[in-house]
Amino acid sequence: MGDYAYAAPTSLEEALSVLEAQANDGQRTQILAGGTDVLVQMRSIDKEPRTLVDIKHIAETNALSIGADEIFIGAAIPSAALNENDELKGLLPGLIEAADLIGSTQIQGRATIGGNLCNSSPAGDTIPALVVVSAVCVIASPGGSREVAVGDFVTGVGENCLESNEILVGLKIPRPGNNSADAYLRFIPRTEMDIAVAGAAVALTLDEGGTCTSARVAIGAVAPTVLLVEAASAALVGTKVDDDALNAAAAACSDAASPITDKRGTVEYRTKVVGVLCKRAGGIARDRASS
């Protein structure tokens, strides 16, 4: 068994070489961003010592840019900082809502979208929100950089395609147009502090007449990984996103869900509520896109 160690590299190159050097020494590594999942798991589920590689001192993981075509969100930016950026909040209200829902104010001060994605929980709030805005993971690898769509990044419960010598640098998101908007809702038993029992994200584009020209609907906490529900999207496109369309999308989400029963909810509950959330989130996205 190795020892705990801590490294705080200040460049991507240095970070990648720390990962490689530790691996060569047979020492386990773990990337540390906000730490709100990592530190909890390290003290309870998986206590094996490791080298924690803190990526908060790297320029790229802290970068935030809003370009004419593309938005970049560094993997180490805490949710609270994202939420304080009014322009970002205006462009991606659903994603920022999702980030803002994770934990308390205190957790917000640390937790990152990158960390939420890398934790790869079925219930991770930002993942459906990222999927519907077609976010792409920018990954630094020893051989250079590669990109993977968020929908393909998470491969299973707590599993993703990041290799142990790679780092998630940030997320690239196409800048939404004027008639586009997103929304995310989750269900929790309390008003705050819980893990999502079910979640639904909707991103829509409306034409001048208010007809939906494109839609993406993704649901969380109802399958091992987040599901992009094509049938729900199809139910919205070509409609005014009225109650009938939303009910059809909701039914598609419930159909697509294949949840489990656990301490947070039952199969029946999650199946029904994910549809309710889709319907409500769809209504919010519609109102946002048309305003």
Partner: protein, 740 residues
């Protein structure tokens, strides 16, 4: 007893004497002590809910560098009681998390790693995980030696005891009723949820003199329990109570202290032990899960003719569920001729239950107050009117036997009826639910010394750990009695060797009983001051009055002297016999029952089953509120705990008896955004046995909220959900099955 209009400081809301320490972070709680050379203890806990221990070998842990001591069952006297068996398992582990061994090492991490080096050989047994399982024919026995009510002529059973209360003829009463309602109700196991985990530090010297610092509701009880489990004399044990970060009944029993002492003895170092949150959930006192049946019948005019209750309570691994008080409180608010109540104390492979705020009453009253609400609906009566029609009052024979002295139930019900939150219409889309609450309250033993400084300022020395502002109450009662300003008095919670014996802070007894001792000790001071003044003035002591904080000659006494204040007397006490100190000790009786009425307005999201609590009002008889803000605080805190229990809090077990939600993430206590402001109204029907009319107020507040919440959900949905918690999945399932 002093009348309200005579009171000068009682009933005011000054800043508590320990307040500055607590808002600045200076106050020392259980885990805040640091001693030179101190090492850290950790407990190895059972991975099984039920297993026979074949062997425990701690040698692997002891072989590790930095591990200075390790203990298991063989390090403790074989002869012990249930508490001792709970602190460290003997022949069997009886719940998942039951302590099996402990180690002490130079760092907490090392201690934790050393636990992995302890070898325990278990023979795993089938666990008993519910009342239904426990009372079924052929059930596995948690304790093979257990016979119901100790009757060894019957086969061994998981039912430790059956309690019955009866009066009149319930069957005849039901026959006379125009309307009869009945129901079955389940309430889950819930935890007190104090924010401070259990913590202690222990040392032992070469003479065997033990000192324990710990967070506890009763350091004298820690002394008794620790000495008994270690097989030593209480004269060897000194316990210093730290500040305590919440207890609600859960910090009345020891868990860590005997282990820490033993580890200290073996390592010759001070040993600190602090539970983590998971251990708090898995291995300290929750309260009973219950399965109750209630039936009540009434005439058309609302007169209740009969009621019955069957109450089965999980005790956890050892007998002692609070089913007795459950039976005694279930019908306490009502004046009844015919009833029968039966209670079962049932063993299961879960942690040994501990007291939790009015132990046993919330579950039983949930059942009956839901049934009463259904009765009101059937009769088409206002739920408060129905309760008023049948309410217990002074002279009513309580279901548990005696006649009530002056009580405030009717006053609370009438106050509720007139309250703007009740006379206002139920908000659109909401349901409203009402329930009564009750708790006995207790007195017991307390001591107090009142010390005077040479400038006439006052120190109260007492033995009741201050969980919720009791120092302020003591200072207020002392200020009132002595006639001096509150600011000139301080209160000190002294250790077991620095003040007289004192029972725990629990049972809503501190302001009542320790307060009584403080008042009497102040009266002792006054008597002495009168003597000193008499000496100074060359008159007899019975010619001296104590008026407004000073000695004065009685009217008509011919003495041309200036009054002598406490400070005057203190300044000159060298000439009149030396320093002055007062003392008193009581075994206080007549605590005075506390009644309450609560109601809430809430909305249910029919698509998700989520409850949104819009308003909550609590009315309670406090006898007399010494510091009204802390009385309101008790009412508000009890309401919040009750709402949490009604809506979301529960122990969730898997099939192996492993708690699945042992943390604040999934054991969902209410957070600030879950709750509205909680309106309170204090009713004052003075308790004649207390010099200022005090009744206990700490526990009654949690007895009404479960039923009030259930009744409001019933009003909102139009049907009854009789199992708690009314969590979103449970409510949605109920809604869906109703809508079919």
């Amino acid at each position: 007893m002093a009348e309200a209009h005579d009171l000068k400081v009682i009933g005011t809301r000054p800043v508590r004497p320990d307040g500055v320490e607590k808002v600045t972070g200076r106050a020392n709680f259980g885990a805040d002590l640091h001693l030179p050379g101190m090492i850290h203890g950790k407990v190895l806990r059972s991975p099984y809910a039920h297993a026979r221990i074949k062997s425990v070998d701690v040698s692997g842990a002891l072989a590790m560098e930095g591990v200075l001591a390790a203990v298991c069952r063989s390090d403790f006297p074989e002869e012990t009681d249930d508490l001792g068996r709970n602190v460290i398992a003997r022949d069997k582990v009886l719940y998942h998390g039951h302590a099996v061994a402990a180690v002490a090492a130079t760092t907490p991490l090392l201690a934790e790693q050393a636990l992995d080096a302890i070898k325990v050989d278990y023979d795993v047994l089938e666990p008993v995980l519910s009342i239904d399982q426990a009372i079924a024919d052929g059930a596995t026995l948690v304790n093979e030696e257990m016979h119901t009510n100790g009757d060894a002529s019957q086969p061994a059973s998981n039912v430790a005891a059956i309690t019955k209360f009866e009066r009149g003829d319930a069957e005849k009463g039901f026959a006379e009723a125009d309307v009869v309602v009945e129901g079955e109700y389940r309430v889950p196991m819930a935890h007190q949820g104090y924010i401070e985990p259990h913590a202690c530090t222990a040392t032992i010297n070469e003479e065997g003199k033990i000192t324990v610092w710990c967070s506890t509701q009763g350091h004298f009880d820690v002394r008794t329990q620790t000495a008994a489990i270690l097989g030593t004399s209480i004269s060897k044990v000194k316990v210093i109570a730290s500040e305590i970060g919440g207890g609600f009944g859960g910090k009345l029993s020891v868990y860590l202290e005997p282990l820490a002492v033993k580890l200290s003895e073996l390592s010759n170092r001070p040993v600190r032990m602090v539970m983590n949150r998971e251990e708090v959930f898995r291995a300290t006192g929750p309260t009973s899960a219950t399965w109750c049946k209630a039936k009540v019948g009434a005439k058309k005019d609302g007169t209740i003719t009969a009621a019955t209750a069957w109450l089965a309570y999980e005790a956890g691994a050892f007998p002692g569920a609070p089913v007795g008080p459950g039976c005694m409180s279930v019908l306490a608010p009502y004046d009844l001729e015919n009833f029968s109540i039966e209670g079962l104390d049932v063993l299961v492979n879960k942690p040994k239950v501990a007291a939790y705020r009015a132990p046993g009453a919330p579950q039983a009253m949930h059942a009956m107050e839901c049934a009463i609400d259904d009765l009101a609906r059937e009769l088409g009566m206002d739920p408060i009117d129905l309760r008023l029609k049948n309410a217990a009052d002074e002279g009513t024979q309580a279901p548990y036997g005696p006649k009530f002295p002056a009580i405030g139930l009717k006053a609370c019900l009438e106050a509720a009826k007139a309250h703007p939150n009740y006379t206002s219409p139920v908000p659109e889309g909401c349901g409203r639910g009402v329930a009564c609450g009750f708790w006995f309250n207790i007195g017991m033993q307390s001591s107090a010394e009142v010390l005077i400084r040479e400038d006439g300022t006052v120190i109260i020395n007492e033995g009741s750990p201050d969980i919720g502002g009791s120092r302020a109450s003591m200072c207020l009662m002392a200020a009132e009695t002595l006639g001096i300003p509150y600011e000139r008095i301080n209160a000190h919670v002294a250790d077991t060797e620095s003040t007289g014996y004192c029972n725990m802070t629990g049972g809503s007894r501190t302001t009542f009983a320790t307060g009584m001792a403080v008042v009497q000790a102040c009266e002792d001071i006054i008597a002495q001051c009168k003597e000193r003044a008499a000496m100074t003035w060359d008159i007899d002591a019975d010619q001296v009055d104590w008026d407004d904080g000073q000695a004065v000659p009685k009217p008509g006494v011919n003495a041309d002297v200036d009054p002598l204040s406490l400070a005057d007397i203190a300044r000159a006490w060298g000439r009149t016999g030396g320093p002055i100190l007062g003392r008193a000790s009581v075994n206080a009786q007549g605590a005075g029952a506390g009644f309450s009425v609560n109601w809430t307005d809430l909305a249910v999201d029919r698509e998700t089953g989520k409850v949104d609590v819009k308003a909550y009002t609590a009315i309670q008889d406090a006898g007399r509120a010494i510091h009204p803000a802390y009385v309101e605080g008790q009412m508000q805190g009890g309401a919040a705990q009750g709402l949490g229990w009604a809506l979301n809090e529960e122990y969730i077990y898997d099939d192996n008896g492993v708690m699945e939600n042992a943390g604040f993430l999934d054991y969902r206590v209410p957070v600030a955004s879950d709750l509205p402001m909680i309106d309170t109204q204090i009713v004052e029907v003075p308790n004649p046995t207390h010099p200022y009319g005090v009744r206990g107020v700490g526990e009654t507040p949690i007895t009404a909220p479960l039923a009030a919440t259930s009744n409001a959900v019933c009003d909102a949905l139009g049907f009854r959900v009789s199992e708690l918690p009314m969590s979103p999945p449970r409510l949605l399932e109920a809604i869906d099955s109703q809508e079919g």
